[in-house]
């Protein structure tokens, strides 16, 4: 049999809907296949584990050529909300969980959820601002210790 991956550590650095989901899907999929998985939320990716914000993560409608929407149109008030609503409804039809539900499920799989200390300091966030499922706020050095021996994926 070909070489297999035993462990992945996935960095989520973006705070948009399309920036958060790929990392979550990869972490969840890794656990389902029996790999060890860690998620490290850094910079705007911290929103995904930020109690007041993780239910309100929006699709980027400006500067996102993949949407095939004129940049000026994407910047109109309400466009991001409407398209986020449309996208989440489509995802719901495919039984893709919302971000808070997905993160809870990933924590249930036994994956480790961590926040980046530098980012938490930058945004003035402490442990109580972040969701209960989070294991810890850690430094980059501690992240590398956790990731040792496995693959690191940056999203």
């Amino acid at each position: 049999m070909a070489a297999s991956i035993e462990k992945v550590s996935i960095i989520v650095s973006k705070g948009s809907l399309e920036g958060v989901y790929p990392g979550l899907i990869m972490a969840n999929g890794a656990r389902a296949e029996g790999m060890e998985a860690n998620l490290f939320f850094t910079f705007f990716g911290l929103d995904a584990v930020h109690k007041p914000r993780h239910e309100h993560i929006k699709l980027a409608t400006v500067g996102n050529p993949g949407l095939h929407l004129a940049t000026w149109a994407g910047g109109l008030p309400g466009v991001s909300s409407v398209l986020t609503h449309y996208m989440t409804r489509k995802m719901d039809q495919l039984d893709i969980p919302s971000i808070p539900e997905f993160i809870e499920m990933i924590a249930d799989t036994g994956a480790g959820l961590y926040a980046c200390k530098a980012s938490a300091d930058l945004f003035g966030l402490t442990r109580t601002d972040l969701i209960d499922q989070l294991k810890d706020i850690i430094t980059v050095g501690e992240f590398y210790d956790l990731a040792a021996g496995g693959q690191i994926i940056f999203t």
């Binding site: 389902a32 039984d95 969980p97 249930d108 799989t109």
Partner: protein, 105 residues
């Protein structure tokens, strides 16, 4: 493809150990396959998942993903991972000998 014997019956398996023909599976084959997956003894909860997976596969032609299992099998996602530490999607599907679910979530 290699041939293995489970519960006195010869079966053809692929490189990952899945049966070429899921129809060859019988309940007596589950314990020896489970041992290969690191599960020494199948509890009643394991069987609940295995039987549910077989049932879903026979009804729909495809196995349930972990998310679907967690929502509909009566066993939570957390417990699924405790029962099948090597990954419920793969390990439970292998013990129930149904093709690995083709879902991303």
């Amino acid at each position: 493809m290699p041939i293995t014997t489970y519960a006195g019956t010869e079966v053809t398996v692929n490189d990952e150990g899945f049966f070429a023909d899921p129809g060859q599976w019988r309940e007596e084959m589950a314990p020896p396959i489970a041992r290969l997956e690191g599960i020494d003894e199948l509890s009643e909860r394991h069987w609940q998942v295995i039987k549910f997976m077989r049932h879903e596969y026979e009804a729909k032609g495809t196995g349930p993903t972990v998310r679907v299992l967690g929502k509909t099998s009566g066993v939570s996602v957390k417990e699924l991972y405790q029962l099948f530490p090597k990954g419920p999607a793969k390990a439970a599907a292998k013990i129930a000998e149904i093709p690995k679910p083709r879902g991303c979530i």
